[in-house]
């Protein structure tokens, strides 16, 4: 029997190479892509096991939360972030707003034939950095390749698992009349950053996406001891849609004060120009908090002490309403409904 010597394997040509169908075939090319790109960037003890699934320790106490998020944003790179860090932040936030400490992530990639490896590396490095910074490792994953024209570069699906400590009980149906509505910062930054980046619209003032992992902010808020009822991250559909969801789940009405809504001037200008309403534009690093009225100041102080909550403000309150309307006192002095988003304001923002 002859022994085949392990010879020199030419490494992936990250700079000039492109994804081809063999990268999804299950053969050596795929193994090499996983090893040299994904495993190298995401490296951790669970991923190193190298099995089909990650073998994880069972946490003691508490309840588990699991959340999934698919990412199809176009363009893939935008001021303030890219699809990579967005896919990590988005899922961490979905887990964290349940009051959970996020523990692990999975990441699945659907790659389009012809996609440049250099771009893929940029995205994977950004994911790895976001996961490292958040302290939430990517412990398992999958890669598929579709033929050219059947994808849009790269789609990423992430799943997150976390654990809710005893005593923490957050849910969209817990808002009560009298509660206050807080928001951790300015509205609409992510959606308008994407919009501004689209080819046809070149705004000179670059609007940065607010994409960020919120679990640190949430931990600080919950540690303050404020009676928090509901947490949400107002992504697609913006603050308006998120509040309508909560109002419906909790069977309450809400009244916002337009004057209190924080919006960056460049976002306000871009919205005005395009006929959009910042209330409906997506955020990727903002937190909506429904808190007992007596704890409003405590919650605001805890949020403002965190870098992601410096501009936290109260924007309205919860009241009884059989119709579950979210209404707003306009800065002009009138009143109106803040309805669900109809159709879509912007395509493929996350």
């Amino acid at each position: 029997m002859s022994e085949v010597k392990r010879g020199y394997v030419r490494p992936l040509d990250i700079r000039h190479g492109r994804i081809d169908l063999s990268h999804g075939s299950g053969g050596r090319a795929m193994a090499q892509l996983i090893e040299e790109l994904f495993a190298a960037a995401f490296d951790n003890e669970y991923l190193r096991q190298g099995n089909d699934g990650a073998l994880l320790p069972v946490p003691t106490g508490g309840r588990m939360v699991m959340a999934a998020d698919a990412h199809v944003v176009s363009p893939l790179f935008f001021p303030g972030g890219d699809i990579g860090c967005l896919s990590v932040h988005g899922t961490i936030n979905d887990v964290a707003v349940m009051g959970a400490k996020p523990l692990w992530l999975s990441a699945s990639f659907i790659l389009e034939e012809g996609f440049p490896l250099a771009d893929l590396k940029r995205i994977v490095d950004s994911m790895a950095a976001a996961a490292r910074e958040a302290g939430v490792p990517i412990v398992t994953g999958d890669t598929k390749v579709v033929e050219q024209g059947k994808g849009d570069g790269v789609f990423i699906t992430t799943t997150g698992v976390g654990i809710v400590p005893e005593g923490v009980n957050l849910s969209g149906d817990l808002a009560q009349p009298g509660d206050r509505i807080l928001i951790s910062g300015t509205l609409g930054d992510h959606g308008m950053a994407i919009m501004a980046e689209r080819e046809s619209l070149g705004f000179s003032a670059p609007i940065q996406s607010d994409t960020a992992a919120l679990h640190g902010l949430i931990e600080a808020l919950l540690a303050s001891g404020a009676q928090v009822r509901v947490l949400r991250d107002p992504t697609r559909g913006g603050l308006a849609t998120t509040l309508n969801e909560i109002a419906r789940q909790s069977k309450v009405g809400m009244m916002l004060q337009e004057k209190a809504l924080p919006v960056n001037p460049e976002v306000a200008a871009a919205c005005e120009f395009l006929g959009l309403d910042p209330l409906y534009v997506a955020n990727e690093g903002k937190l909506v908090v429904i808190v007992a009225a007596e704890d409003e100041e405590k919650a605001l102080a805890a949020m403002r002490a965190h870098p992601l909550g410096q501009r936290a403000v109260a924007v309205g309150s919860v009241h009884e309403d059989p119709h579950h309307f979210v209404q707003m006192t306009t800065a002009f002095g009138g009143k109106r409904i803040v309805d669900w988003l109809t159709g879509e304001q912007l395509p493929r923002i996350c």
Binding site: P265, H323, Q327, T329, T330, A331, G333, D339, G343
Partner: protein, 375 residues
């Protein structure tokens, strides 16, 4: 935001609200029609009606370009995309207008039609340049504001020698619509639509000027105040209308003097006259067939006329029987008078066109004001 916030100032609004209350005679009612969807939207979005006394009522007029587009015209656009295989470029609002066979442009897109949303006629021209092997049609809708850019696109296509660009022209004229409302039996004979005056269009008037409304003021004795689309503009215009009514005057006044002159934009008007001519008649949703109310492309530019280039003839289609859009557009009924408002017909699932655009009377009431129906 500079030049925006000043026109949305809450303090000034309260001052105007007091002035309107003082000016309005408590012994009578004031019924004003805001012609434009832009005004309807501003009134609803900023809650302007909350700042008006009970005896001042605003009637939402037909000036929403999407709302007055008849089903048959949307059907033509859908046929162009699905049967003629063109790339159809359209303004975003038009995508959701219900058409025949439970279709809309958005649903036709899901069925494989190459339908693209554009922000301007210039974008449609770019699509044509980028796809030389495909026919590209721009679905041109709107009042006098959007007509000049369409004319520019046609002239540019001619200058560039583009063989794959054409326009489905559905542009309509504001003064014809106002005449139709004033001539309607509800206003003239039966008085079921009491009309004490008009808030005149903002953007349309920047093009056509204030002069075309003088006829309505003189002939029909209805005051007209041209107003900008910001909420303070609307309130100021209401105050000016109340004063005219109180003093028995009926003239054209211009609140929007920062943008509108008596003559309007002469260059734009000349451009429109060069490229377009009057159609003998045009069907409007809600107003039926209105003589000399729409534009078509002149024969000198026939190469760019999609109606000549493709086999798509206009076929009139009746509205859904339960839909009251027609009466609502004429000011005869309010959205909440319609049986299917808010039940079968919602912004997610519009039956009539007034529920489609945010400028439509039904969508504006549903989105911003329906809490009032429960008070």
């Amino acid at each position: 935001m500079k030049y925006i916030d000043e026109f949305r100032d809450g303090e000034l609004a309260r001052g105007l609200s007091v002035a309107i209350r003082q000016a309005a005679d408590p012994g009578r009612r004031y019924n004003f029609m805001e012609f434009c969807g832009g005004h309807t939207h501003a009134i609803s979005r900023y809650g302007v009606s909350d700042l008006l006394p009970d005896n001042v009522r605003m009637i939402h007029g037909p000036g929403c370009p999407v709302c007055v587009l008849p089903i048959g015209r949307v059907d033509m656009a859908i046929r162009l995309a699905l049967e003629c295989g063109v790339i159809l470029c359209t303004y975003g609002d038009t995508l959701r207008v219900p058409a025949s066979d439970s279709l809309s442009l958005m649903k036709a897109k899901a069925r494989g039609g190459d339908i693209r949303m554009v922000y301007s006629s210039a974008d449609a021209l770019k699509v044509a340049q980028a796809n030389p092997d495909k026919q590209v049609v721009f679905f041109a809708i709107g009042f006098e504001t959007t007509t000049p850019p369409t004319a520019v696109a046609i002239k540019q296509a001619q200058a560039l020698g583009l063989k794959n660009f054409s326009v489905l022209c559905c542009h309509v004229l504001t003064p014809s619509a106002i005449s139709t409302i004033l001539e309607s039996p509800e206003v003239r004979q039966w008085g079921t639509v009491p009309l004490d005056g008009f808030i005149g269009p903002a953007h349309v008037s920047t093009i056509i000027g204030s002069q075309p409304y003088e006829f309505f003021a003189e002939e029909y004795r209805k005051p007209v105040v041209i107003a900008g689309f910001e909420p303070l503009d609307v309130m100021q215009a209401i105050l000016m209308l109340i004063r005219q009514v109180n003093e028995g005057r009926a003239v054209v006044e211009n609140e929007f003097s920062r943008a509108v002159t008596r003559e309007g934009n002469v260059k734009a008007k000349n451009l429109v006259a060069e490229v377009f001519e009057l159609r003998r008649q045009f069907e409007w949703r809600g107003l039926n067939v209105v003589p000399y109310s729409g534009l078509r492309i002149r024969k000198e530019f026939a190469d760019f006329d999609a109606e000549k280039r493709f086999p798509v003839a206009y076929v009139s289609v009746a509205d859904n029987k339960a839909c009251e859009c027609g009466a609502i557009l004429r000011g005869v009924k309010k959205p909440q008078d319609c049986k299917i408002f808010g039940t079968v017909c919602t912004p997610e699932n519009p039956v009539g066109s007034c529920m489609v655009s945010s400028e439509g009377a039904c969508a504006a009431h549903y989105t911003y004001g329906r809490y009032k129906d429960f008070q």
